[in-house]
Symmetry: C2
Amino acid sequence: MADTRQRLIDGAIETIRRHGITGTSARTIAATAGVNQALVFYHFGSVHELLEAACLAATEARVAPFAARLDEVADLRGLLDLGRRLHAEERSLGNVMVLAQMLAGAQADPELAKATSAALGLWIRPIERVLDRLLADSPVADLVDTAGLSRAVCAGFIGLELFEGVDPAGAHAALDALERLAALVDVVQELGPVARRALHAKLRKSAT
Amino acid sequence: MADTRQRLIDGAIETIRRHGITGTSARTIAATAGVNQALVFYHFGSVHELLEAACLAATEARVAPFAARLDEVADLRGLLDLGRRLHAEERSLGNVMVLAQMLAGAQADPELAKATSAALGLWIRPIERVLDRLLADSPVADLVDTAGLSRAVCAGFIGLELFEGVDPAGAHAALDALERLAALVDVVQELGPVARRALHAKLRKSAT
DNA sequence: GTCTATAACGAGATAGAC
DNA sequence: GTCTATCTCGTTATAGAC
């Protein structure tokens, strides 16, 4: 059957989610997928290459519906709402956890690093686009780097996901705190023209 | 010698930094430490327990001088400067990387999770203290949760550290973007009383 | 394409000499 | 306290039957 490839990809993702990168091997993946261990090497050549393929495929599948919802966001408040919903969904569907584990494994492995970076890019690009759109006419527009900010958001999600694994209550408090901080930017956006100009001048001065 | 324990602890940290959690074993640790592999089990009982001890010891050693410097910070701008210096130092000394790897391994392992959470607490508590101190008389004081914010900062550092392993330029851009965002809070802090009251009222309204 | 069998090796852990 | 030797198991990967 041609869907053995797919079963292996799904099995790889599920194994990373359940046992982490340290508990992921050709045997554990094959057991999860319900296929023979040797098929990992027949179809993908190595565990490595299977992980790379699985990481990219799973991320693509997860980003696609998210990107569509991003395009419907009208303001920063809506973006925060979407972010919280996404975070809740990720706790069960778990693509962020997979990326975090891949990222950990990639630190000492240039090949994994390349694949993981590509997968991360799938999240980063749509987030950067929506930030560009929403901050276009903001008083902080020319002082905020959306390319950097989108990467910071992704890094934050990953850090929080790992944090949640060892301290769920702490991670929840952290997310709440970040939302309130982001609300600050939202409030600044809605300030009157006088306040905006004052703030703008101050920001310019402090941006050196 | 009694310093074999210490050599193993140092070797464990160095091994995690060099080979990640996936490349860390009794054998690789012993090789790095220059001692016999069996001594891991004689001194610590298991690789697991060695990792827990090493993680806590290394974090304590790294946090102690940092906590002293935190107490000397006078304002938010100074805190940001210290954060950037810390980040640069961490790239070479690497305690954050160790924590990130431990965190990844802890996701599927309750015992490691407990030790890692304890080590993270060593970073979180002094950060929370300085945030409490600096934001005490800020217009956003009662709208910012310093407990959550300190955890978000730590999670962010860890996410950025992992990010840097696969995309150094992107991680750098992310850090810059975050600093500019934090500067926004700093600017708000220095607003005049009229603007502060206006902002405060808006924040209150939007905090529901 | 899928299976069994197996090679070659590294893992955690222990026993026992020194 | 440190070493060698060893046990048992899981790991990647391949060879070859079907």
